[in-house]
Symmetry: C2
Subunit: 201 residues, 2 copies
């Protein structure tokens, strides 16, 4: 219900936050993470605008998965964190997570979230949204306590915080869309899925 029957939708993302958002919204889909080597793609892109990195990676992931499954619709997504001139990757371990959180503290950064739909093997829709997040001036001790509370969960996203968990205690201010912070501009995506008659209207 709320969704047209027999439309094969695949989400090309291993992100639990993205899966939860779409599932809670009432979309039915399968999950198949892409095999794209994100670090290699980024390195190959060189010094381009972070917005474009997010879009290229979202496209690459959706196209990769579309080649591997027989689905009418594949959704790909990517999120890039930009601080000043730098771009952050997901932390590899707790030491890197700690370093990222200390770099972000007391400052404003940007999250660029791209979402792409591949329909019948062609990219049919692309949307990128940006949100400004300001971290509060937390103490180094707080970072330590936060990371031991959050555990490996903190390594699951660039920036090491989840707005939907205790990571919200690191945040001073969010200017922009909540879903974009979570890594998926949900409202434009749902609107496009209605246009495509995947969702009822």
């Amino acid at each position: 219900m709320l969704m047209a029957d027999q439309v094969g939708v695949v989400l090309a993302s291993a992100s639990a936050a993205r899966q939860n958002l779409l599932r809670s919204a009432g979309l039915k889909f399968d999950v198949l993470p892409s095999n794209v080597d994100e670090v290699a793609v980024r390195d190959a892109l060189g010094d381009i605008d972070p917005v474009d990195i997010a879009e290229v990676l979202a496209r690459a992931k959706a196209e990769d998965v579309a080649r591997r499954v027989d689905a009418r619709i594949v959704i790909g997504a990517d999120q890039i964190l930009a601080l000043g001139d730098g771009v952050f990757s997901k932390p590899a371990d707790m030491a890197e997570a700690r370093a990222q959180l200390l770099s972000l503290k007391g400052r404003r950064h940007q999250l660029h979230s791209a979402v792409v739909i591949v329909r019948d093997d062609l990219v049919s829709w692309v949307h990128v949204d940006t949100v400004d997040v300001t971290m509060r001036d937390y103490s180094a001790e707080f970072v330590g306590r936060y990371l031991s509370a959050a555990g490996d969960q903190a390594l699951s996203s660039v920036g090491c915080y989840q707005l939907e968990g205790p990571g919200v205690q690191l945040i001073e201010k969010v200017a922009g869309d909540y879903f974009t912070v979570l890594g998926l501009p949900l409202l434009p995506l749902l609107a496009e899925l209605r246009q495509m008659n995947v969702l009822e209207s």
Copy 2:
């Protein structure tokens, strides 16, 4: 962790959304809904600004619960939906929910969310935030399908939609804070709890 020990915090709200927000954020608290007769308070207030209705009700709930428990801190909250000159109450049944959703369709409304802290039996902090929500031009059939899918859950909030559930399919646009839509301006509340040393910083 992330929270100072031995501070008794009570949330004066039966709202599952508010409890989830605070729990996910890492706050520890007990729940005791107030006995305030919201309809009677509203009627007594007469024709005042919806922002003030939200604040008065949040205060009344927190003060009522503070009188009944031995807690250092009581958090009260209220949310008012305003459409044009009118103010909506929670729907009593599915017929009313349907009527509300049909009134809201294709239009922009305001959600005013107030949160209050009562500390040692005195109101020590008040915050009210407003967000604009635009509903899409959904069909009457869609409303029927949505309400049968959402069930009694749709009756749990004014406006009959939950942004964190399939209700997001009713939404065109949200301009403002996500947490305010859910009925609790979370970031300002957490900031105040840090000021009060209830949360670590």
